[in-house]
């Protein structure tokens, strides 16, 4: 029988490496994807995922079991991604690569291309909106879950999602990824 997260956390606190390995197996992909969609950088997403798991292990003895482990993990991931974005913002400027290549709407994008284009478009969104779009559309979280993770009211989640999605649409239209009506 598959052990639930709380059992695995208890085993981790008793010193089990294997239990922590199981939690990594379970959540590394989702954490990595959240980080990747937030920062649009494969290497940075790898670094962030590593940090998230190290921090979660270090703070595991203060984890409140009344919350869900993955919500807690997401929260750490979002915070780490935002830290990374802020640091990068201070250190770099926009490069020419990040400017639209101007494809026409009729062109068909492959999976990889679409993923890359969407990643670039997302980076143009303010992180406040980017995070709700990522959690909703890439992780399919409910408003309630997003509200818990981001510690904001559900109403705010909904309004940010709406605004974020509309802003993203504008970027996608500008970049020629989708057509304007």
């Amino acid at each position: 029988m598959e052990r639930n997260d709380k059992d695995l956390i208890r085993e981790c606190l008793e010193g089990s490496e294997q239990a922590f390995g199981e939690l990594v197996n379970r959540y590394q992909k989702v954490v990595f994807n959240v980080a990747y969609r937030m920062v649009n950088d494969f290497d940075a997403a790898e670094d962030i995922t590593q940090i998230v798991f190290i921090k979660s292990y270090e703070k595991m003895n203060s984890f409140n079991p009344k919350y869900r482990f993955f919500s807690w993990l997401y929260r750490i991931a979002i915070n780490e991604a935002l830290n990374h974005i802020n640091q990068r913002k201070r250190m770099t400027e926009l490069t020419a690569d990040m400017v639209s290549k101007g494809r026409t709407p009729d062109e068909v994008y492959s999976d990889n291309e679409l993923s890359q284009k969407m990643g670039e478009a997302l980076t143009e969104l303010d992180p406040t909106y980017r995070v709700v779009v990522v959690l909703k559309h890439f992780r399919d979280l409910s408003y309630k879950e997003m509200s818990d993770i981001l510690e904001i009211p559900e109403k705010t989640v909904k309004s940010r999602l709406f605004t974020g999605r509309q802003l993203l649409r504008k970027v996608l239209v500008t970049r020629g990824i989708i057509g304007n009506e």
Binding site: Q28, E46, T49, F53, N61, K158, R165, E181
Partner: protein, 275 residues
């Protein structure tokens, strides 16, 4: 229906979780409200495009990288320490951990002391279990006997330097109170004796410098400390003491340590004990 509710229904429609009643309300709202259909199409188009973007596979080595960077001793250490487990258990049965620890420590110390007496072949003073200040398991009063007490009574410094001895071990106990920075120098023949260590007897700071045949302990104000030596010859030895305050010698003295009748050097005694 307000705009917020309308947006939620579009989300549900996009996610495929909308009920028949909600869909009816949604379409009714769109028929009545100008611009609502356009918004509906835009949201659906963006959502559909986002849905087409698939997850990225993390690198295969990521798990190993994470596992390698986590300090697993953090919780393992807590678990594996038998003393901690014992104390936790004691707490569970209502015993006070400090009391239990003190009792356990007392037992260990008692056993160590008792074992020294048990393994002493030559009686109280014949032990070969030695540390730098003497012999473990025998009280200091029983070991070290005073050889000479030299009082210091000068305007710059007062106190005393006491020489004590136990077999081939010598100790100079220095108790000094000076008006300024002081230095205590002990000069000896390194072929005849060796320096064994400094032991502070109070909280004053002492700086120690050693050279071949010279030990210099310096400090300021009041200080109590002990300098230990070991004789390497059975014959008589002498140690010259010099006390300096503010760079000036204010007192000097020679300690003559006669050979103790019947006392053999350490190496010979070890041979006697067959070790």
């Amino acid at each position: 229906m307000n705009e917020q509710e309308y947006i939620e229904l579009i989300d549900k429609e996009s996610a495929g979780t909308i009920s028949a009643g909600e869909r009816e309300a949604l379409y009714q709202y769109m028929r009545k409200t100008p611009g609502a259909q356009k918004l509906y199409r835009e949201v659906l188009q963006t959502s559909n495009l986002l849905r087409q973007v698939s997850d990225v596979e993390p690198p295969g080595h990521l798990k190993q990288r994470i596992m390698n960077s986590v300090d697993f001793t953090r919780y393992q250490a807590r678990e594996s320490r038998p003393v901690m487990r014992f104390l936790l258990k004691a707490r569970q049965v209502g015993l006070k951990p400090r009391l239990v620890s003190a009792f356990a420590l007392g037992m260990v110390v008692g056993l160590v002391v008792y074992s020294v007496f048990l393994t002493t072949p030559g009686g109280r003073y014949g032990s070969d279990v030695r540390e730098m200040y003497g012999t473990i398991g025998i009280s200091e009063e029983s070991r070290f006997a005073p050889v000479e007490r030299m009082p210091v009574d000068m305007p710059e410094a007062t106190g005393s330097v006491n020489l004590l001895r136990f077999e081939d071990l010598l100790r100079f106990e220095v108790i000094l109170e000076s008006t300024d920075a002081f230095e205590v120098l002990l000069l000896y023949d390194p072929a005849q004796m060796g320096f064994n260590g400094l032991k502070p007897l109070d909280y004053g700071e002492i700086v120690l410098e050693t050279d071949d045949g010279c030990v210099r302990a310096s400090g300021s104000g009041a200080a109590e400390f002990m300098l230990a030596f070991v004789k390497q010859t059975a014959s008589a030895v002498s140690v010259d003491l010099r006390i300096m305050v503010s760079g000036e010698t204010i007192h000097s003295h020679r300690f003559d340590i006669p050979p103790e009748p019947g006392t053999a050097p350490v190496g010979e005694k070890l041979g006697e004990n067959g070790k």
